[in-house]
Symmetry: C2
Subunit: 396 residues, 2 copies
């Protein structure tokens, strides 16, 4: 077991193109969103396991002696492919969580203890403290639970020695090797299964690998190189049910198959065209025309999403407000409210960005200037963690 402090972070996720169409066998492009979840893990000698989740006002600790009692119920297995149902049942009992509960706090704790116990099962359970702070809004379809699971997996695997912590003394940040990322991703997927029941695996893959992923018929293919794109991420804060929206699209396809099937084909072509343009942007000099095309694709897809019936007046407002500044926006994810992304061009002046963000906030939205296509899970030296995040993580 490695001793000391470990800082890790993982990005959120946005769908650049192909939301909803992906349910009907079309390509979707998922990108890392550089609103990150940060985790600090420090080992201790106090015989306790503590977790602090200030975003959701959750601060818990357990004596190691209590947790040790759960170990005999764990099934013997090496692979992290399927959940250990017996361990999960015992953990629910231990935490007094009813079977159908999807409460965020409960699911976060359950995922933590499950990964912790599973990784240290064959060795002595270590005394440690984990604090997690996220820049991501929760429940907004931005992969906050996956970023949390990825951070947990990366930190706990590193402490267990299964995937050596990659940070060298002189580094600010460091990434794990491909093989270790696979292991981190598989454990993060377990966390997602606990939290979501039936996740696609896209969110944890984006949190692990970063950049952009092509998602098609359940297959996830990380794309080798993509440019970093500046965006505004806007949360309309209109709550929506992904399930209801997915059903709405399906109903519309069933009602108007001859009208809707070509729309899905067009969305598929948008994703493929976008992938091609982004790839070109890494292999040739980036021009204004690259950005023009990205903007056109955003506009077209936003119209198609409206055709699918997953638009919302607040999203129309987002598009109108940003277009007034010459910026192009689309919803990202399920739609029907939720979040939208606005592409910023390299030449977009920071004063334009500021006033646009303010205009959006004046509409009652949350708005962040961030980027997509950045790195996946990283280990940090404390120096490379933003001051305000460090303060929060070290405050417990």
């Amino acid at each position: 077991m490695q001793v000391g402090d470990i800082y890790v972070s993982a990005p959120g996720k946005a769908i650049l193109h192909g939301e909803h169409a992906v349910v009907h066998g079309k390509v979707a492009l998922a990108v890392s969103l550089n609103l990150r979840t940060y985790l600090r893990l420090n080992t201790s000698n106090d015989g306790k396991v503590c977790i602090n989740l200030p975003n959701i006002d959750t601060f818990l600790s357990w004596d190691l002696s209590e947790l040790k009692k759960l170990i005999p119920y764990m099934s013997k297995r090496e692979e992290a492919k399927r959940l250990d149902a017996e361990l999960l049942r015992r953990l629910r009992e231990f935490l007094d969580i009813s079977n159908g509960s999807l409460d965020t706090c409960n699911m976060a704790i359950l995922a933590f203890l499950y990964i912790y116990l599973s990784l240290f099962r064959s060795s002595e359970l270590p005394s440690l403290k984990v604090s997690v702070w996220s820049e991501l809004p929760t429940g907004a379809g931005l992969g906050s639970s996956a970023a949390y699971s990825v951070c947990l997996a990366a930190a706990l695997l590193s402490v267990s020695g299964a995937t050596p912590a990659p940070l060298k003394e002189w580094d600010h940040t460091a990434r794990w090797c491909q093989e270790d990322l696979e292991l981190i991703n598989s454990w993060a997927f377990q966390g997602e299964m606990i939290i979501h029941g039936n996740p696609s695996g896209v969110d944890n893959a984006v949190g692990t690998w970063g950049g952009m992923l092509r998602f098609l018929a359940g297959k996830i293919i990380p794309l080798s190189r993509v440019p970093l794109l500046r965006i505004l991420l806007t949360n309309t804060k209109v709550p929506r049910s992904t399930k209801v929206l997915v059903a709405r699209v399906k109903d519309k396809i069933n009602k108007f198959p001859s009208i809707m099937t070509p729309v899905l084909d067009s969305v598929d072509a948008i994703s493929c065209t976008c992938e091609k343009v982004l790839s070109e942007m890494t292999s040739e000099p980036i021009t204004g025309e690259h950005y023009n095309i990205l903007e056109e694709l955003i506009d077209i897809n936003q119209h198609h999403l409206n055709v699918m019936g997953v638009g919302h007046p607040t999203l129309d407002t987002l598009c109108r407000v940003t277009l007034a500044k010459g910026l192009h926006s689309k919803l990202t994810g399920a739609g029907g409210g939720g979040c939208g992304i606005t592409l910023l061009r390299p030449e977009t002046d920071s004063s334009v960005v500021q006033t646009t963000a303010q205009d959006l906030k004046d509409c009652g939205f949350d708005c962040w200037e961030t980027s997509i296509g950045g790195p996946g899970v990283q280990q940090h030296s404390p120096l490379s963690v933003k001051e305000e995040v460090l303060e929060i993580l070290n405050g417990y």
Copy 2:
């Protein structure tokens, strides 16, 4: 030659679905728009031919003796399929109209004298007075020139005795028989050729037959029965060039063929679905669901037209303002400004219609409550012509 007063009217035209897509081999649905052009023709003995077009401040008259001098230059023909180039050249000379001129007044006069001379060529030229008044805005893509040509053809053919005037003593309005409508349409098409150069023939066909026409690859098929639909017709008054907009769509298809081709397919399916629903509405009891579908088709097509790049902020405003009253709108015709239609449901209260129209007028738009799918060219008894129209027509 029949003597006395003749009142005729012909409707304008709106594209219900398929504008722009029709240029790329897809179906378009053209419907009659019940903003009508009214014509009064009365024969006289003063040896003059007069035309009064108060919409465009045009009031002209000629001595029969002058017009008779043009007859020797007319080619001998029975069929009204191709323009008589020599007559046209002489008429331009007579009226002092340069060859490239597309001035509305000039074209209207040219079309009138051409049809008048062509129809009476073999007989004595009659002394008569024609007054035309239209509810249609001109140059707004609503078929005002075709409605004018149809009225001219119907009235002059009736006076010449070629197509007996259908109105019986006890009738308020009457329609010509199918064979006579064919003749009216063919002469109206000549008028359109003079005014527009290379018309599709859709506008004069709608003005002649009314109801709805299916237009595909140059073929025009009148649909047997369609319901009358109440609408608001809004003119944003933003000027646009059809040529530029058609070129813009073509460029976009060339730039993104894999994305745009399915959009055209979807528009085609919208037209076909709409045609089916309208046909059902004449053969089975009309339900709210019929209107729901018509509204959904309008919304989807409006998004597709935006994808094609022929939307405009004023059209977005139109859609937003009407949607705030639960009403659905789309652009009609070339887009990029111009006109839009808003479907009214049978149960839409007249107070809602009034306030919506007022809201649109407050945006700076012109707005009319009218209907689509109504009758084509009609002969009227004076009693069946609206008071205010009668006053205008009889004022000259």
